[in-house]
């Protein structure tokens, strides 16, 4: 009986399938427990936003999903992370192959400086396959750049270094690089925090397109951004999941006072 339930078709739409599910997920850096048992699901073909103050564990959470967390020395996890029902921390799982299924876009646009725009897009492909026919490579480059809404801007400059692009273009290049390997999930760690409002709007616009093909989890400091782009929003505080609900509900009438205080700007 909230605003969310009034959205047209909300009641009729089929319940989305969970893509990622975490059970009692805990994460440590050394002896510091940064996630304190997260039970959460990320629904397929939706944008799930994770908000919360700095140090609440929201970035760590998504880094546990593609096993990037463990790349930091002394980092470890406990609990269970399932991708389509499969335990991604199982003994038979290759984290390298997992990361091809679960792409990641970072806070700072980070195209590879030694590579051209074209080579950046193909960087991931070159890792997973030995040889690419030239025509096939061209097709992949165009599809990925179109998917990242960058093709029209760079189609005549594919040989130029990726670093020659503007910040917003670089970030879209990074998105193109991620989707070129055809992942199922895109994890985004504050992808717009280094971008100006116009570049941000382009990426947000792109997210609405991307979620048709991919499942997206986005960590953001910007509550308005979470409100704009996501279907569901999770609020983290001090390593705990305080509340997760439809974005419409979270930003109009959250049920937890801590969520309310955070999103209305009442700190400490």
């Amino acid at each position: 009986m909230t605003l969310a339930t009034l959205a047209p078709g909300a009641a009729r739409a089929a319940e989305p399938r969970p893509k990622f599910v975490t059970h009692q997920l805990e994460a440590w850096f050394g002896t510091n427990r940064v996630l304190k048992g997260i039970d959460m699901a990320i629904a397929e073909h939706q944008v799930t936003a994770i908000i919360g103050p700095s140090g609440c564990g929201k970035s760590t959470y998504i880094r546990c999903l593609n096993r990037m967390h463990e790349m930091v020395p002394s980092a470890r996890i406990a609990g269970r992370v399932e991708l389509d029902g499969q335990d991604v921390y199982g003994a038979d799982i290759d984290p390298v192959l997992l990361r091809r299924k679960v792409g990641m876009v970072f806070q700072k646009p980070n195209p590879f400086p030694t590579m051209s725009i074209r080579d950046n897009v193909l960087a991931g492909m070159r890792l997973s396959r030995r040889k690419l026919a030239k025509s096939e490579a061209e097709g992949i480059v165009e599809t990925a750049l179109r998917g990242a809404a960058l093709w029209e801007e760079v189609k005549d400059a594919l040989k130029k270094p990726g670093m020659d692009l503007s910040g917003g273009q670089q970030q879209r290049l990074c998105i193109a690089r991620s989707i070129a390997v055809e992942p199922d999930v895109l994890l985004m760690d504050e992808p717009c925090s280094a971008l100006d409002p116009i570049a941000t709007a382009r990426i947000e616009d792109l997210l609405h397109e991307l979620k048709k093909r991919y499942t997206i989890a986005i960590v953001t400091h910007n509550m308005q951004q979470a409100a704009r782009v996501s279907d569901r929003t999770a609020f983290f505080l001090s390593g705990e999941l305080v509340e997760m609900a439809a974005t419409n509900t979270i930003f109009t009438s959250p049920s937890d006072q801590r969520t309310e205080d955070y999103i209305t700007g009442k700190f400490g």
């Binding site: 909230t2 009034l6 979270i250 969520t259 999103i263 209305t264 700007g265 700190f267 400490g268």
Partner: protein, 226 residues
């Protein structure tokens, strides 16, 4: 509501909006009270003074709307703040309508005062209930008290009941004595205006419930929610 906003300017603006709404509600409540008194005591001067107050109320409406727009543009409020702004925008409309209805009652008072006295005891009873509803709805909004707001809703039925009683009684009187027709219609209008004020007070109460609980209780029987 233990914590305050970290941004004190924002907090001050939201507080200012609350105070303006309360001041507007008090002014409107005063108009309702005075308008009915002007009818009952046949006080033409009071009726004219009350009609003049409506301009103040209109100004309040404009100022509140402007403040809401400014807060929306500058702070992009969320959650309870967002509800309070959107609700405030609706509340000023209801309050302004109540003010207009009080003006309508005063106009009837002027008409009635030009004719021989004709009294009807149910009118003062109605105004007591209607003013309580209005007061409780506004207090419930300010205090985020959905329980208090919920008590307002059934009282609207009481008001409707009173109106129908008045209507039937007046019909009977006018049928018996056609010379009362003119005055009877004016008194019936006053009762109708009070009944409408009750409806607006009910709207305010529903808005207060949404403000406090985040639940929209309007049109529940017509638009079911899952």
């Amino acid at each position: 509501m233990t914590r305050t906003h970290t941004d004190r300017e924002y907090e001050a603006k939201l507080d200012e909006l609350r105070q303006r709404l309360v001041a507007m509600a008090e002014r409107v409540d005063g108009m309702v009270e005075a308008s009915v008194r002007a009818v009952v005591t046949r006080d033409t001067a009071l009726a004219e003074a009350t009609i003049a107050i409506d301009r103040e109320v209109d100004r309040c409406e404009l100022e509140c709307d402007e403040l809401c727009l400014l807060v929306l543009a500058r702070w992009q409020p969320m959650a309870s703040d967002l509800r309070s702004i959107t609700i405030a925008l609706k509340m000023v409309t209801d309050l302004e309508r109540i003010g207009d209805l009080a003006v309508n009652i005063c106009e009837r008072a002027l008409q009635l005062n030009a004719q021989p006295a004709f009294e009807y005891e149910t009118i003062p009873k109605m105004v007591v209930i209607v003013r309580e509803m209005l007061g409780d709805a506004v207090r419930a909004f300010v205090d985020h008290d959905s329980e208090l707001a919920r008590t307002v809703l059934p009282r609207d039925d009481e008001v409707d009941e009173h109106y129908h009683t008045v209507f039937r009684a007046l019909m009977q009187l006018m049928r018996d004595d056609p010379t009362l027709l003119d005055r009877g219609i004016h008194v019936q209008s006053v009762a109708k205006f009070l009944e409408r004020i009750g409806d607006h007070a009910t709207n305010l109460a529903e808005q207060a419930i949404f403000m406090a609980a985040g639940k929209d209780v309007r049109h529940l029987h017509k638009v079911p929610r899952t």
